[in-house]
Symmetry: C2
Subunit: 147 residues, 2 copies
DNA sequence: GTCGTCACATCGACCATCAATATAGTTAGG
DNA sequence: CCTAACTATATTGATGGTCGATGTGACGAC
């Protein structure tokens, strides 16, 4: 264990506590975390197979089947055929799905921004400085996720 | 709208995306966010009323009743009487509950620390610098939450 | 004492998730 | 070609977590 390992664990613990707090403080009953993440994945990656989505989102295939069924029911995504493999189902984000995703992001960012206003100037400055780094961390994750 | 409002929204959006990513990347099926947060609240604040817990955690009283029932069943908390008000139920964290909470924190921090290792030295430095500020933000929330 | 309020439990209804299994389609070996 | 193994999705049955509505007993002001 190097000298910096302890410091990193402390940092990680603080970030984890912050993450849980942020999620709960801005709780949003419109879409679950997995639902929102799946929409975001479809938005970024375009139409894709149901089972690929399941792997990417870290849920089982039956869960993804149920999730896609709900998305379809709510008009946020559609099921389509894969012309090259008739077993497969291609899931596509609808315009309505994209809109829901955008409005959710805006809504949550607004709420969290209000909470960030509680910080003093100095603290806010270092947090703003770290936002880019955290964003890079999120985006470089091979399995992604995001909101 | 001041000049900095846009920047704060951008920061908030990045933090929100990070929070969702962190929670999902370190997903933990042992305890739900609400369950973990409730245990943490009991750890910090000591024994307290079921309905106070419900308010603090932002769930309805029936949800908290169900949650406390599960905690009791799993040996993580106990129900007790309030000698001054026989209507009330005082919820108390058990040693087992405290242990579960500690091990969960350690486990999650370890996982997140591994993810933080992906950052470059510079990014890691600014993130470590921001951890304290984010921690303060979490702790100054009147309604709290934490992990 | 009585009546309004409070604290908690219960009930019925969803949504979300999982593991296990069923069904339909594909592909490789013979 | 056929068939067996594999793959993609759907279905089933279980658990957990949440809610609103409602019930029950306790409290407190008058």
């Amino acid at each position: 264990m190097t000298a910096s390992t302890g410091a990193r664990l402390t940092t990680a613990a603080a970030l984890d506590a912050f993450a849980a707090w942020a999620i709960r403080s801005t709780a949003d009953r419109e879409l679950s975390l997995t639902t929102a993440s799946t929409l975001a994945t479809l938005d970024r990656g375009g139409p894709q197979r149901l089972s690929d989505l399941a792997v990417r989102e870290g849920v089982t295939q039956p869960s993804m089947t149920a999730l896609v069924t709900r998305l379809e029911r709510d008009g946020l995504a559609t099921r389509g055929d894969d012309p090259t493999d008739r077993r497969a189902v291609i899931v596509t984000l609808t315009d309505a799905g994209r809109e829901v995703l955008v409005s959710r992001r805006t809504r949550r960012a607004t709420r969290l921004a209000a909470l960030l206003d509680r910080l003093g100037d100095e603290d806010r400055a270092v947090v703003e400085a770290a936002a880019g780094a955290l964003s890079r961390l999120t985006l470089t994750d091979p399995s992604r996720g995001e909101s």
